[in-house]
């Protein structure tokens, strides 16, 4: 087995790990959080709408 064959196998393994990670995390999130909350986003939060933007600024500061 040369370096290129090993690189190919490593690429398969790495790709599998990345995909496994996101699928497992997505399942954990679905089991942990309320579905209504996960799907509660709203469009149009911006400085164009000062009231919404103010409350969104609060959200962002909490998120950080």
């Amino acid at each position: 087995m040369n370096i290129w064959d090993m690189l190919s196998y490593a690429a398969w393994v790495a790709a599998g790990l990345f995909l496994l990670w996101i699928v497992v995390d997505a399942i954990k999130v679905s089991l942990t959080y309320d579905e209504d909350l996960l799907m509660s986003s709203r469009e149009g939060l911006d400085e164009l709408d000062p009231d919404q933007a103010q409350s969104h600024a609060v959200e962002n500061s909490h998120a950080k």
Partner: protein
């Protein structure tokens, strides 16, 4: 069920929204990142159709088409601070069937372009292995790794995703500038041989028209900047800045690319080359330049795939949020604040497209889906200005000379359809048939699920005449 500690009541309920963390630089990186791979490969097929001068005409005529796209998009998106881009515009301005179609154009265009980019990364790995004496390396593991890694990155947050795009896109763009300096543009004839290599139009003006389709490679995807509208700080300012800055960058990159390649390679070779910029660097006999252009080509393909995942997922997410597609896809990750289900859903689709190995067909489908979207934009902005005239809503940017850009865009799109019909008539008809069947499915089976009133959460005034 555990509630989330990172959300707040907005006064109308608790909402899990995307984070507004992006700047105009990220918007630039998203747009240019998706497109720049077209400078490294693909644009040169226009040389085969119309010769070197034909390709230059295509570069600038299609540049005009995309300048109209960028101006129109900047104005409309500066008022719609929402993911989904042109889908969201269509939803607000035209109606549900148009919105569904535009959303589908976006998802198909970006997912297929992502698959093509991953294929390019795989092919480059195979070519590199062959250079080092290992023939026949299977590209598939590198194709899947590209898609999987970028999906993982997109899943974990938009800021890091587009910051990476900014870095690798800058490197790819800088490589074109370095190559331009290396060919001594101030000393014609020393390295560049335009005088001997440039010929008249080999197939006349019909060849020039035919080359327009491949001229789209120079700019295809710049309109993707507006998918960042929901995550950018000050969308009204950042989206126009990033989009117009990106368009200027691409016009420069496209013209330099044409100038370098046509001065080094005969048009007969250039018209069928796989990696024209890399080939141009190779014949200079400078190993460092060769390595730089190889790395830049790889980076450009990765940046494009990365931006495509970002945009396709946001378009799919937006359609899910409004129930144009199953609302399951309208979820936001509570920690990373990304449309995580849409990102995961599109991974196997992109891999499937990539595994067909049909780069030509995949790219053609992507280009035609984009072209359908641009046609919609010309009609959309005329209606937008009628429904919400200047002064009726806040605009971060107002595009000049309305309705001239809209009519110019419509005329150039029509010409490009004709150009596509000349080369890929059956593909064009197949794609139109696909979207007609999808529209029938939406009307008969899906429309009943659409959130008719709830989908409009922007606090816009009632449109004129309603």
């Amino acid at each position: 069920m555990q509630n989330n500690t990172t959300t707040e009541s907005t006064g109308t309920g608790t909402h899990m929204n995307m984070l507004k963390v992006l700047t105009p630089f990220h918007v630039w990186a998203l747009g240019v990142g998706i497109v720049l791979v077209g400078e490294f490969m693909g644009w040169n097929f226009s040389v085969a159709k119309g010769g070197a001068y034909g390709a230059l005409i295509a570069c600038w005529v299609i540049g005009l088409l995309y300048s109209c796209v960028a101006m129109i998009d900047s104005e409309v998106t500066s008022t719609v601070a929402a993911a989904g881009g042109q889908y969201t515009q269509a939803k607000h301005i035209v109606g549900p069937l148009m919105a569904f179609n535009v959303g589908l154009y976006l998802v198909m265009a970006y997912t297929m372009l992502e698959a093509a980019d991953a294929l390019i990364v795989g092919d480059l790995m195979t070519a590199m292995a062959a250079t080092f004496g290992h023939e026949g390396l299977d590209p598939k593991p590198f194709v899947v790794l590209t898609i999987a890694f970028l999906a993982w990155l997109n899943y974990r947050g938009v800021f890091t995703t587009l910051s990476l795009n900014f870095v690798i896109t800058i490197i790819a763009f800088a490589s074109i500038l370095v190559l331009f300096v290396a060919v001594e543009p101030t000393n014609p004839g020393a390295v560049l041989q335009h005088e001997g290599l440039l010929t008249d139009l080999p197939y006349g003006w019909i060849g020039v028209v035919a080359s327009l389709q491949f001229g789209m490679w120079y700019y295809l995807g710049i309109e993707g900047t507006c998918q960042a509208a929901e995550e950018v700080r000050s969308a009204g300012r950042s989206i126009p800045l990033g989009t117009m800055g990106g368009m200027m960058t691409l016009l420069i990159a496209a013209t330099l690319t044409w100038y370098i390649c046509t001065g080094l390679l005969p048009w007969q070779y250039l018209g069928q080359a796989f990696t024209p910029l890399y080939d141009a660097a190779s014949i200079l006999g400078n190993t460092k330049l060769q390595v730089l252009l190889f790395v830049a080509t790889m980076f450009a393909a990765i940046a494009s795939a990365n931006g495509c995942i970002n945009d396709a997922a946001r378009a799919w997410f937006s359609m899910g949020r409004d129930s144009y597609m199953p609302s399951f896809f309208g979820a936001i990750h509570p920690k990373y604040r990304t449309p995580y289900r849409a990102i995961i859903f599109l991974v196997p689709i992109a891999v499937s497209f990539a595994f067909t190995g049909l780069l030509d067909q995949v790219i053609t489908f992507s280009i035609l889906s984009g072209l359908l979207g641009y046609t919609f934009m010309s009609l959309n902005v005329i209606k937008f200005r009628k429904m919400w005239p200047l002064g009726s809503i806040h605009r971060g940017y107002v595009h000049p000379f309305h309705p001239l850009p809209a009519y110019t865009l419509l005329a150039l799109c029509s010409t490009t359809y004709f150009a596509t019909f000349l080369g890929y008539g059956s593909s064009l008809l197949s794609i139109l048939a696909f979207y007609i069947v999808a529209s029938i499915w939406f009307t008969v089976r899906r429309y009943k699920f659409v959130k008719r009133g709830e989908q409009f959460t922007m606090s816009w005034p009632r449109p004129k005449g309603f």
